[in-house]
Symmetry: C2
Subunit: 442 residues, 2 copies
Amino acid sequence: MATLSIKFKYAFPLVKAGMVMKVREKGLTIKETESKESFEIMAWVHDLMPDKRTIVLRDPTGIKEFLVDPSVVKGLTRESLVKAKGYVHSGESVIKDIKVIIKAPPKLPIDVRNPPADDPERFSKYSYLVIRSPKYMKVLKIQQWILYGIRDFLISKGFIELLPPIISPCSDPGLRGAKKLRTKLYGKEYELMSSLIMFKQAAASALGKIFFVGRNVREEPPEHLSTGRHLCEFTQIDVELAFAKIDDAMRLCEDLLKYTIGFVWDKCRSELEELNPSLEIPRIPFKVLTYDEAFQILKEMGEKVVYGKEFPQDSETKLATSLGEPIWIIKYPIESRGFYYMPDQEDPGKNRDFNLILPKGYGEVIDGGEREYRYEKIVERIKLMGEDPDHYGWFLDLAKIGIAPSCGFGIGLERLTRYIAGLKYIWEAVPFPKVPGVAPTP
Amino acid sequence: MATLSIKFKYAFPLVKAGMVMKVREKGLTIKETESKESFEIMAWVHDLMPDKRTIVLRDPTGIKEFLVDPSVVKGLTRESLVKAKGYVHSGESVIKDIKVIIKAPPKLPIDVRNPPADDPERFSKYSYLVIRSPKYMKVLKIQQWILYGIRDFLISKGFIELLPPIISPCSDPGLRGAKKLRTKLYGKEYELMSSLIMFKQAAASALGKIFFVGRNVREEPPEHLSTGRHLCEFTQIDVELAFAKIDDAMRLCEDLLKYTIGFVWDKCRSELEELNPSLEIPRIPFKVLTYDEAFQILKEMGEKVVYGKEFPQDSETKLATSLGEPIWIIKYPIESRGFYYMPDQEDPGKNRDFNLILPKGYGEVIDGGEREYRYEKIVERIKLMGEDPDHYGWFLDLAKIGIAPSCGFGIGLERLTRYIAGLKYIWEAVPFPKVPGVAPTP
């Protein structure tokens, strides 16, 4: 039997015959009926042209225009679910009958054809409609393949992926002004994970090379909304390597990014050609600047930088953008970062750490470093930060027994998705965004 | 250059040459030195034989015995990290010098050689040591490949994997006696996700065929500890198909389980041969019983079952075990389940739902069904359960616009891991378990 020529544009790449096709026959795609020229589809009304002679239908594979008689679409509303029957005539697809399965109200809270990315409050509140738009369907497909590529790369290098904890009595203390969320389990205080740093050190001590795809939650200062680079719920690809050094980890990151971007080009060529055609597979290794070198350049650029503090994120972003390529910044001053970095013996006052800053305004996407693993030093650093060591109970118990020296990093998955898909805002890079200062959202 | 014959037993399957080998040379594996018969390794002291003439060292690839002179191991403690130098002589590996990098205390809270799975409180409290034991390193490797196999299968069928939300103003109301955890974001009440059901319906309405690897949190009644089948933090492979029916979803589950178990046999043959050699690739389709049929059989078996309520989990587990094969139970009474199932038009009072019950005492591993998607009916069902519709704000807003009819299911990943790895308790099937009634744990 011949297949009809009516196809939605963005076909899923791996749909195979068999049982799933059986499922699809029941709805999503075109079903052959007796005549090879007729068809029947289940789809959402994406758009109705003002002349009522053209209708755009949408299913998970994309959108498609059909000719229609105005009488058939009378009273029809966008985002209604319909069963449509039609035929193909001289290459034109014509719909002759529409049955409404679910009628959407005439007024919708956002325009699915063009979701309001410039209005993060409405964009996040109605995220369940945003994900219906063809643009964000493509972004989510790209994100799936980014994650797939990262997993494939790491597992091929012998890493073990572990399930990420969601709550623990203690989470990362170094949050750049964000707050941790709290909850209770059996009356005991827990925190939602804001980073998996302590679990990474514990797991690398057991399994050597590990990663988590960690979902973290932080209450970001509301003013971070304007950066377009912060989410309250975000994903960190959290990688840790026992006995490794920063050079090993930085090379691993470079290879991983190069591999992943190439992989996504393979899997999502049409999507990238539409959303971000200028995306290049990066040339590695990336340029390296020390904190001190970056500080000098930023001062000369007129940026407001204070020695001994992390650079304002806008400033480091401007730096990478002005250089036009991804930049490693290494060896931050000890006092500027969390307690878990290892001081550099050869460069007193500095950590053995690194950040990767992307150009074109995308900013920081990876941070990492060698870890402090010595019990006394960890306690000393926690106190220096004005924190109570008792809060870090299980981690310090483990440190007393012994943690492997290790090096690791976290990749911000939504930031990487934003870069790869060429998105203006980070809330465009996740299916149900929670943006700074806005609650409640789904 | 020849490679030395000293290898740890459980080599990671995909370690490749190149950068990662460079990392490994620095520590975890044996380093060739000038003489081809000598070696140097970084490893943990797994065991010391009472005669002090044999030492067992451990690295992420497994454990290995070495001969040693008692003077070399004087004062050495288990779980210390050491750098050991030695040589191979007549097939025996001999260690001649040990340098302690981190000295573990003489008394450890658990025995890493044989973690106390029968004592869930200590097992979960010291999970960071449990994952060092060779047995649980194997379990975690199996779990990684289970997840990999599931992802591969679903993605090959055209499903899109989405990032799972962690918090939302509302989560699943139907929890079999467990409580939801609460938190606040910007002063607003949120719940930790206890299931992704509402997000699944929203996402399937947009993308058709979707899945989440959802990390859910519930405060289980402390008495659920004794079942060995409940965790407070657990992973659900949450799959949803727009326009599908229960038959489609049940066939998909069967194919998925068959594929995944075969895949794990391929990837983890030595681990499964050790942990669960009798694991079979299941014959599909599985046997199907209606709730009414299962009720009759359970009554005849003398089980305490009440018509109209879910079966006690012990009872349904006994049923599958007595039949010696996985069993589908379908068409539960409406009042026994959550509000989101679709009633069966042809069988009044019953849902179009299904549970998969595993034999050999493993019990329920999948539940699913067709979903109620009609706004008025959802509100009616919420009220019938004595709940306030206002609590389900965003979901009802979406239902008013329109949700696709869909069918879906959740696979308990830790339960499946327990079944595949042949584990006695579910807390053995996750790296950092949170067990009923026990807090705080990491």
